[in-house]
């Protein structure tokens, strides 16, 4: 069920953030490989809004494709063809796991809130640029138009039940671009598998890791039981302060591994902290989505 006020505020916030940026046009190099119409004219007949040419109808053409106005001026039926337009399909995956609902202090937004805001802002930019934006979810394939923003916002506002999220690329169309936003603190195997699959399908994209400052600094002391946000994982330590160094090592290792994965798959990897301004992160995302490999 969609939380309408949340969705509305999410969209409004995203619009506000996106207002400052120029429309994002996806990399033209991929246009040739996408078969989806967009506003980037392909100088060939296809599914588009702009007129391309009339051609005589062939028996394989459906009757409804015949342009009767043009056919009436001659004896043969003509078919009206429109110019192919290439649009980038961008698939967003925003981790909705409960781990993302963490904020170390009430002053900071949760990771999920920041991740959704960034993803939504990017979606606004993309849609303003005429791209097709969807979710990795099969229910919400990439589409264009402002209406898609409402659907995206509604879907993004939903919370998942899992402790840690895992991306799925099953619904990602080939040659699309993808943006995975998560804290990547869970198991990396699904991420690795997803990236591998995506690479196979020619999907390029960006990984954006969103972390809370506390997750970087690990400012804990004393005997502590750490629980995952869902409570499924628990770890008890007697001296949390002693673990700080090793935790940071592991986090660094996790980042390094993520970077390695991204490099292998030809993806970008970004890191964003919730105490940093979202604008900078969006700028980085904007450029990363434009960047050509």
């Amino acid at each position: 069920m969609t939380d309408l006020p949340a969705a509305g505020s999410l969209r409004a916030g995203a619009e506000a953030l996106a207002a400052a940026l120029p429309p994002l046009l996806a990399d033209a190099r991929h246009l040739a490989q996408t078969v989806v119409l967009g506003e980037h004219g392909r100088r060939r007949a296809g599914l588009g809004d702009a007129f391309w040419q009339y051609r005589p109808a062939t028996p394989s053409d459906e009757a409804r494709t015949i342009d009767w106005r043009r056919s009436a001026r001659s004896d043969t039926p003509f078919v009206r063809e429109k110019e192919w337009q290439a649009a980038q399909s961008v698939v967003l995956w925003v981790d909705d796991a409960r781990a993302m609902a963490f904020a170390s202090t009430p002053r900071l937004p949760t990771k999920a809130a920041r991740a959704r805001l960034l993803a939504m802002a990017l979606a606004v930019l993309l849609i303003r640029g005429g791209e097709r934006v969807g979710l990795a979810d099969p229910d919400l394939p990439p589409r264009r138009g402002a209406g898609q923003l409402f659907r995206l916002a509604g879907r993004l506002a939903e919370d998942g039940a899992a402790d840690y999220g895992a991306p799925s690329v099953a619904a990602v169309p080939g040659q699309a671009r993808a943006l995975f936003v998560s804290d990547f603190l869970g198991d990396l195997a699904p991420v690795e598998a997803a990236l591998a699959t995506a690479a196979d399908r020619g999907v390029r994209g960006t990984l954006l890791q969103v972390l809370d400052p506390a997750e970087e600094a690990f400012p804990f002391e004393g005997r502590t039981i750490f629980e995952s946000m869902g409570g499924a994982l628990r770890f008890e330590t007697l001296k949390a302060g002693d673990l700080r160094g090793r935790y940071r090592e592991r986090l660094a290792g996790r980042k390094a591994r993520l970077a390695g994965l991204a490099r292998q798959a030809g993806w970008h990897l970004g890191l964003h902290h919730t105490d940093a301004p979202a604008q900078a992160a969006l700028l980085w995302l904007h450029r990363a989505m434009e960047r050509v490999h």
């Binding site: 963490f102 202090t105 869970g186 005997r223 502590t224 001296k239 935790y247 592991r250």
Partner: protein
């Protein structure tokens, strides 16, 4: 009860719990501190990590120690600790309480009384008969063993005496001890005394003896002595001790006759010394005023030393008639006088007229025959004011015709011409000896040395009064010294010269003693027995054991010998109590401490238990110990928070800030500035209801009305004032707007008193229930019910709905309805007098005077009046133009109301009727 040293336990069994502490130690060591639960997504990264140090899982040892201490305190606390437990095991049999009751007890006598009371209480609990004996005032009969209760009332009346117990009385007391055994508690004054041992032995024969002694050292002041031009002071202590300082002050009368401290001197006991000495040098004028010396801060007769003639230095003027003669000093008529008086008196030399200005006590005229008329008159006046004129005969006097034929007021007797010479080369007789001094003579009792001989003298005329004026005579009865009282003073004539020409008297010690008896000189130190022999001394001042100097009252005189004995022994007694004794012009002080008194600490046999005086009152320590345990546990909470890293978090900071704010927050009270503000200018006021929203609206409403009044009328109120009826003065305000809420607290009685006073003195309260009187079931609204409760104690008259001819309808605007945010329901005011009649042709009744004390309604006027800061209405009223009209009417009601408050029934005056009729007619 288990007693360990000074602490006992009422429930010692609980102390076994202390044995559990080691177990608790191990348990606490084994159980790590309670963990903090944290939700943390990064936990996935932590999985598999091991704690490096196993030590950290244990509580730090000092925290353990803290907790163990808390636990131990809990156990100790519940075991019922009692400080100074009184031994419950009581001995049976009678109890004898003995107090020395000397001056040395006086310093802490109240504590001794407390101790006696404690002993009596204990004996009373145990049903033991008690006798209390003060050794300085021993009972005459057998020991008065009585019930403890009957003694308890008498303890307050026990008093120490300013002398030591009489050894004879103590011996008698030992002899009177009963046959039966008894226990003795002896409250000793801590000073050694010979009379003590026999009594102690007698008491021990009857039962155990306990001794109670104050650990406080006894300090005593030795009598002051005049030595080498300064007053020598000495403070004594019984036992050598560490270095200690003590202050001695000199008290006396100032020139105005007021007793005050004249001087102060610090003395220091050297370590190991029992005497502290110092000299106090004072000018003679000041020195002669000293009445006593006291050790500052000690209430005891031993700390007071009364002074007598020994310190007093009389001013003696020596005047000779033959000063111009060149000759040997030994032949000077003043040589012997000067030598005799110099150590003990202040000598004044000079011409007679100058000397008199120096106010001498004594003037000695050695062989001065003639005085001028003026000199004689001045000197006579001086004598009659109390001066002592001592004249010595001599060749000049013998040759003169002074007091030959008539009595000279400056001569005690008439003299025969020429005098006589005895035992010289040209005479037959032997030089005469002195006859023993008669009783009644000031010289009575003085021994007469054998070698005093008189070779020449002047002779007195045998007058009828000669016998009574003669105070010393020669063996043949001829007067040697004559005296006449003149006014308050006296004139004394020695019928011999002041030098050794005529007699050997000036060469003898008798001469000095005679001068001393005449109070020409004063004795240098303790009076010897012979000094006082044959005189009777009357106590003038008495010294009690506490060192207070009082009037002696009617006490029989004391023989000089007894007084001398007491002074010599330094031992006053009941018969000769300490104080100042007077005989004639002479004063002798008998102090508790004599010239030779040495203080020594009391020594008790080793088997006698000696206790301190501290009243060992039982003091349960349970509360303190448990409070300590609680404090430790609270500390433990803080420490535990700190260890677990929770003390520094944002919540802790905010909690600390809140706590600090709570501590710092002080209620700012209105002072006079509020009153000045309220009275400086007319201001509308509203009663604080306690609901901030309602109060805000009331303030805004009155602000709006104030603004409207400013715009439309000549009433220009100041900013509205919020009034707390509990604390603020109401008399400053003519008008109160009181929004009533359903949960408003009822005013206090004091507030009601102020409100009623406010109403009676012409104030008006507008009660507004703000609910349009719309109740769910047609009854009374909640605010209405509250209003009734609030108004019940108020002095509110009978009410009626505002009649159409009420003055409120025409004080400024002509209105007939009184809407606020709600329009409707009636508004109630004080009912008109029932006999109000409407005159013919008049539109209004002739209503009563005065302002209605209350206006009651529920139209929420404040909301209708309220303006926001930009001047726009804060709350919508009605709809459209009709609503604006309603708001305007609400404002008009407010204006009318304020006008009514300020002008009273002015508009009710019939003078205005024509104008009003004209307006109404339009």
């Amino acid at each position: 009860m288990l007693v360990l040293g000074p602490v006992g336990f009422t429930a010692p069994a609980l102390l076994l719990g202390l044995a559990v502490l080691p177990v608790l130690w191990f348990l606490l060591r084994a159980v790590p501190p309670a963990p903090v639960r944290r939700r943390f997504p990064g936990v996935a990264l932590l999985l598999g990590l091991k704690d490096e140090t196993a030590e950290a899982d244990r509580t730090p040892w000092w925290l353990l120690l803290l907790r163990m201490a808390a636990a131990a305190l809990l156990i100790l606390g519940f075991a019922g600790p009692v400080l100074n437990p009184e031994p419950r095991a009581a001995a049976g049999g009678p109890l004898l309480v003995i107090a020395d009751g000397t001056w040395a007890d006086a310093a802490d006598w109240p504590r001794r009384q407390e101790r006696i009371t404690a002993l009596l209480d204990e004996a009373g609990r145990n049903g033991r008969p008690v006798a209390v004996v003060v050794l300085t005032d021993p009972p005459a009969g057998p020991l008065p063993f009585q019930a403890a209760g009957s003694w308890a009332e008498r303890v307050a009346g026990l008093e120490p005496r300013p002398f030591a117990p009489d050894p004879d009385a103590l011996a008698a007391l030992s002899a009177r001890l009963p046959e039966t055994g008894f226990e003795t508690v002896w409250l000793s004054d801590g000073l050694a005394r010979d009379s003590r041992a026999p009594l102690l032995a007698a008491l021990e024969a009857h039962g155990p003896v306990r001794v109670v002694e104050s650990p406080r050292p006894v300090l005593a002041l030795a009598p002051a002595a005049f030595r080498e031009g300064a007053i020598a002071l000495a403070v004594l202590r019984p036992a050598a001790g560490p270095e200690a300082g003590v202050t001695v002050s000199a008290h006396g009368l100032d020139p105005a006759g007021i007793a005050r401290e004249l001087a102060r001197l610090g003395l220091v006991f050297a370590a190991g010394a029992t005497t502290a000495e110092a000299a106090l040098a004072l000018p003679p004028e000041l020195r002669n005023r000293i009445l006593s010396f006291q050790i500052a801060g000690i209430r005891s007769a031993g700390a007071v030393s009364l002074t007598d003639d020994a310190l007093r230095r009389r001013k003696v003027a020596l005047i000779a008639g033959r000063e111009d003669r060149e000759g040997l000093d030994l032949l000077s008529p003043l040589h012997y006088l000067r030598n005799a008086l110099a150590p003990v008196a202040e000598l004044i030399d000079g011409p007679l007229e100058d000397v008199l200005h120096a106010a001498p006590d004594v003037i000695v005229l050695a062989d001065v025959a003639r005085l001028t008329e003026a000199e004689a008159a001045t000197m006579l006046a001086w004598v009659e004011r109390g001066g002592l004129l001592v004249r010595f005969a001599g060749p000049r006097l013998a040759a003169s015709d002074v007091a030959r034929t008539a009595e000279n007021p400056l001569m005690p007797v008439r003299l025969r011409e020429g005098g006589r010479t005895l035992g010289g080369a040209m005479s037959w007789g032997e030089p005469k000896r002195l006859r023993p001094f008669p009783d009644g003579s000031p010289f009575a009792g003085l021994p007469i040395p054998e070698d005093v001989q008189v070779a020449a003298q002047v002779l007195a005329q045998p007058d009828p009064s000669l016998a009574e004026r003669t105070i010393a005579s020669l063996a043949d009865g001829t007067p040697l010294v004559t005296r006449r009282l003149a006014g308050q003073g006296q004139v004394v004539l020695f019928h011999v010269t002041a030098n050794a020409e005529w007699s050997t008297l000036p060469l003898s010690g008798l001469f000095v003693q005679m001068l001393e008896r005449l109070a020409v000189s004063t004795r240098p130190a303790a009076p010897a027995a012979e000094d006082l022999e044959g005189t009777v001394w009357v106590a003038e001042k008495r010294l009690d054991a506490f060192g207070r100097v009082g009037e002696a009252g009617q006490i029989a005189g004391v023989a000089g010998s007894a007084l001398a004995g007491a002074i010599a022994a330094g031992a006053p007694s009941a018969a000769v109590p300490p104080g100042v004794y007077a005989a004639g012009d002479r004063r002798v002080a008998l102090n508790v401490i004599g010239y030779g008194t040495v203080l020594a600490p009391a020594v008790w046999p080793a088997w006698i238990p000696v206790e301190g005086l501290a009243p060992a009152a039982e003091r349960p320590l349970k509360g303190e110990v448990l409070a300590g345990a609680l404090a430790l546990l609270l500390l433990d909470i803080l420490v535990a928070l700190w260890i677990s890293g929770r003390l520094g978090g944002p919540r802790a900071t905010s909690a600390a800030v809140a706590l600090a704010a709570l501590l710092v927050a002080t209620e700012a009270r209105a002072d006079d500035s509020a009153a000045i503000r309220a009275t400086g200018q007319f201001a509308l006021a509203h009663v604080l209801s306690g609901d901030p929203e309602v109060d805000r609206m009331a303030a805004a409403g009155l602000a709006g009305l104030t603004r409207r009044l400013f715009e439309r009328t000549s009433v220009e109120p100041a900013e509205p004032i919020a009034v707390d009826i509990e604390t603020d003065e109401l008399a400053f305000f003519p008008f109160l707007y009181w929004p009533v809420t359903a949960d408003q607290p009822l005013p206090s009685d004091a507030a009601y008193a102020r409100l009623n006073h406010f109403l009676r003195t012409g104030g008006l309260i507008l009660f507004d229930t703000r609910d349009a009187d719309i109740a769910p079931s047609g009854g009374t609204t909640a605010a209405g019910r509250r209003l009734r409760e609030i108004a019940r104690p108020l002095d509110v008259p009978a009410l009626e709905p505002v009649p159409t001819d009420h003055v409120l309808t025409r004080t400024f605007y002509l209105i007939q309805e009184f809407p606020g945010r709600f329009a409707g329901r009636e508004v109630w005011v004080e009912a008109a007098a029932p006999d109000a009649e409407r005159a013919e042709g008049m539109p209004f009744r002739n209503l009563n005077d005065g302002v209605t004390p209350v206006v009651i309604g529920g139209n929420d006027w404040a909301a209708a009046w309220a303006l926001d800061p930009r001047g726009g209405p804060m709350v919508p009223v009605g709809r459209g133009l009709g609503g604006e009209r309603q708001r305007e009417l609400a404002v008009r009601f407010g204006v009318n109301l304020v006008m009514h408050v300020l002008t009273g029934n002015y508009k009710s005056d019939q003078v205005h009727v024509p104008a009003l009729l004209e307006r109404l007619g339009q």
